[in-house]
Symmetry: C2
Subunit: 599 residues, 2 copies
């Protein structure tokens, strides 16, 4: 059974307690948002997630989207849910008040996103893509385009897409062929075919605004010749309502492994009218504004599925009776004990739990930097935040989605044979989570972004905020007298040492031979992710220990559980850092030894 | 695209070269099977796999089985393929000649199974379950039952099932409720409902023979009160043809994540006539005969999917053009290089390749022991073989199926977005492979079987044949002068040391507290699997190095590739042993720290 109730206590912990001293807080723009107000937002969001989105998750998977005579339909109930969502203001939570948004901090917005992704990740794409598109328009479009499109998109009356991929090119967008012909009135005629367009068409909104990558007639080859265009499905009339159709058609929808309630469309643009967004031939830069926001959000998809997978597994493990505890009967009145008594079931549950709590904390750290990057008055803080976001974006995207898939699989495993059966609703998590490791740049591409762009930039400047934070905490913790915290600090010191050594190795070898950096990339990203999670768990343990020493009252259970979770991370997950370090050290030799023709 | 051609050269390597000196060979029963004959069997099997089974794999997934008015139908083409398969004698390859089988060694049979599972794992269950059922009947049934049923089942004219699971009990069969009432004529009336019955009903054979676990009226509670019964769908007439129906009905088929062409049935037995197989209340022992064979075969399912995932990924990686090589353009005439040039794509391909070759070798070692256990004239060899099989069965089942799922996922990842789309045929591998980690005992149950039964039995006697083989090879290799082999030997010594230490830790702690053994189980099984695979790679490297030194002629490419694959294993996979060792060492504390109610 798909089981969900937002982990509000943990959300409040990462929101208010965990990063109080990280130097990214105290933003004027957010002064009005009191902790109580933010908590109330989370509580209301939980209701929407549980009551509106979750009931459509399994049914949406079974029914899927349909395509008939050029028209795409979402599953039963989606239109009504979308209206409820939109009318409740949930689509515009973090959008700029200038365009009708509520201007809430990303810290809260990402927690709400987690709830939406947990309960209906297919649904999340419709408002999610719109939000990404508005970001790119806000950042790069002309005032005229902004005035015309942003209010309708921020209110979610119209939706948005990003049209990048063509059948022969995904990662390598330099190969794309869609053409843009300049017109006398300053507009362009866009012609070409795109695939894998999430929310490309549907019945939730009366207009869809496409952001399309295309080539101008005289554009240079490769990625330096790509421009970004805004192409509406229907051209707006003077009164702002959708007018004539614009040569945008749907050739079909994809039959996918999962995410079946999300319409993934093949789009044709046939002399469609579009307007340039940003500078000619600078479309990739404009698109990356959108992609970076989206990448963190895709990470949150992994986290959301991780959390619902965890909760669904826990519910089953407490209820399913099978076998007896190895340490003596726990349920003497029943025919057997609930399977949560078995160590190997605990292993699975604790792993999912550690992944969810660790990702939530690391994601929150990243969100704080996103807010500071946008709103801080202090130029130093702004720079630090920008660097931290640059470094962590690929880590969050890849680590969270890998863990999300792992958690989904652990949930199925906890259910045993019943997990493989559609009616129990948990194999859907495996199918739904799988795409997040691929889209918005595969996790391999994230790793290359990390070692190939983010590390070398500015002589490693992006690393500094992160490395400083970790060093500072480790220094702090070295003075602590608590026996357990000492052991965990030791583990973190080792892992951090491995990360620093790996960084140096990659910088050195990669300079001479970029394939060396490429060969290290995936293990290095995972290693950095583990150190990042370790940092949040050590900080959390420090706080929890202090609170418990003071007497934590009704929060005692929460802090004790936090220590238990941290313990599992340091005992069972962090040791993987050693294996990654050894793999990185071995270099590219064995990875590239076999000639291509010998495969 | 699902791409497959059996890896015949590697199969011949593991069959004839790799284990020539393991002491399990030279069986009189197999004297007539010359290497040439066995190679010819493999070549013919490859044709059946490629030409008969592979073309039905994707279509079978899309169509699935159907259930209507109590009748189950397999997808289009399955009946014809089954007839071809049966008439070619493929169903009876390893069966006893006494019952019409061909008596081929398991070593060859398991390689053929690999091909069948690679090209159509759903199909493999129909003959697979029959083979398992015949094993249990051969081992435990009366002569009369054998005479009546075995010839028809060995010829695959009739099929077989194993009916264990009920909706409230899978792992914990002690809870089962199906009843058996003794009749005056020595038969029994069986009444009850079973779920998850693979090949429970279908249109491939005119009769289905069920092996059903049930309770006699006066049976003791729990697993000690379970008996095994043979219950045919149709009662055979005197002339051996199917006669009147026997109260066996299908209540429905399951809607599963994958394996959609395999009919997984809910079966009702309503006063069905059955006959006892083996002793009253000793049904679990009889069923375990079947389960053990099946567990190794389930491991081979993982290996089969691993291999086709690898080949399908390689084909795509050689063809898909995207980006340029970091070490200079490789395909100057094309718009981009094939993605096989990228280190991170190599990482995925090499990982799949290492998993497939390592599992094939380890599986072959196990098959040799299976043959020796059955046919050796030397009682010492027989004991050694039995112990080796006992130890390795859970390892093969869990390791191969975990790696099979990993490989399937890596294949999808290699395809990027296209991998998520049904038409490309590779997401099916993920869905199909997932069940193998669960059925015939979840992989967590395999790990418990290893630490809870196989290790402690006879003061660790089961470990001896395996540990001796590894020690002997390491001693041998310590004398070798080759620089690379020395490094790999060093890695293996470390991993083997970790395995020995872990064994001692588990034995010690587990004796006092069985939860300690349970907490170590999954990591320990993986560690043992890695050491087992490492042993085969080191042996393979020893052979390849010697062959290349002699001048290997047309086999030069094969042996060089084997060294490259071994190198990747020792550089990139074996280091994980360290993480497992540290996790095992940490014990149960953090795994069991959180009280059940705090989840």
């Amino acid at each position: 059974m798909q089981t969900y109730d937002a982990p509000l206590r943990d959300m409040r912990f990462v929101l208010h307690e965990l990063f109080a001293d990280d130097g990214f807080g105290g933003l004027k723009a957010h002064e009005d948002f009191t902790p109580d107000l933010l908590d109330a937002v989370l509580e209301e969001a939980n209701k929407v997630a549980k009551d509106v989105l979750l009931p459509l998750n399994a049914s949406g998977d079974i029914e899927g989207c349909t395509y008939e005579n050029g028209v795409v339909r979402t599953p039963k109930g989606f239109k009504q849910a979308y209206d409820t969502f939109r009318e409740g203001g949930w689509a515009s939570l973090a959008s700029d008040p200038e365009w009708g948004g509520q201007g809430l901090p990303e810290t809260v917005n990402k927690l709400v996103e987690e709830m939406i992704c947990a309960t209906n990740v297919s649904f999340s794409l419709y408002p999610g893509l719109t939000h990404g598109a508005t970001t790119a328009i806000e950042g790069h479009a002309s005032d005229e385009l902004k005035q015309l499109y942003l209010p309708k998109m921020v209110s979610a009356e119209w939706s948005g897409t990003m049209c990048l991929t063509e059948s022969h090119c995904g990662t390598d967008l330099g190969l794309l062929r869609t053409k843009a012909e300049p017109q006398a009135d300053g507009s362009y005629k866009i012609t070409g075919s795109k695939i894998f367009i999430s929310a490309g068409d549907h019945d939730l909104t009366c207009n869809v605004i496409h952001l399309v990558l295309a080539r101008l007639p005289d554009a240079p080859k490769g990625v330096k010749g790509i421009s970004l265009f805004l192409v509406p499905k229907f051209l707006p009339k003077d009164d702002g309502t959708p007018g004539p159709s614009n040569g945008v058609s749907v050739a079909g929808i994809e039959h996918k492994m999962g995410m079946k309630a999300s319409a993934t469309c093949q789009m044709n643009f046939d002399d469609s009218t579009g307007w340039l967004v940003g500078q000619p031939n600078k479309g990739m830069a404009a698109m990356f504004t959108m992609m970076n926001t989206e990448r963190v959000s895709v990470g949150v998809q992994g986290l959301g599925i991780n959390e619902i997978a965890y909760q669904s597994a826990v519910a089953y493990a407490k209820e399913r009776l099978q076998g007896r505890s190895l340490s003596g009967v726990k349920n003497p009145d029943g025919p057997a004990d609930p399977i949560i008594v078995h160590p190997d079931v605990r292993r699975m549950l604790m792993t999912m739990r550690v992944y969810a709590e660790g990702c939530r904390a690391l994601g929150q750290w990243c969100s704080r930097a996103l807010d500071a990057e946008k709103h801080s008055d202090d130029p130093e803080v702004k720079v630090r935040a920008t660097r931290f976001v640059a470094l962590m974006t690929p880590v969050v995207k890849a680590l969270f989605t890998d863990f999300g898939s792992d958690a989904a699989n652990l949930c199925v495993q906890t259910y045993g044979g019943h997990g493989y059966i559609r009616e129990h609703g948990v194999e859907q998590f495996v199918r739904d989570s799988r795409i997040a490791q691929i889209y918005e740049g595969t996790n391999g591409v994230q790793a290359l972004d990390l070692v190939g762009r983010k590390l070398p930039a500015d002589m490693g400047a992006n690393l500094r905020p992160f490395f400083h934070a970790v060093s500072n905490l480790l220094e702090d913790m070295a003075k602590v007298d608590d026996k357990v915290l000492k052991i965990w600090t030791g583990g973190m010191q080792q892992a951090f040492g491995a990360l620093q050594l790996s960084t140096a190795t990659i910088a050195q070898k990669g300079l001479k031979d970029p394939e060396e950096a490429g060969a290290a990339a995936t293990d290095y990203l995972r290693l950095m992710g583990l150190v990042g999670m370790g940092h949040t768990f050590l900080k959390a343990a420090q706080i929890a220990t202090a609170k418990l020493a003071q007497g934590a009252g009704e929060d005692e259970g929460f802090y004790k559980a936090k220590l238990a979770t941290a313990g599992f991370f340091f005992d069972r997950i962090l040791p993987q850092a050693t294996a990654m370090f050894l793999a990185i050290k071995s270099g590219k030799r064995s990875m590239m030894a076999l000639p291509a023709e010998a495969f």
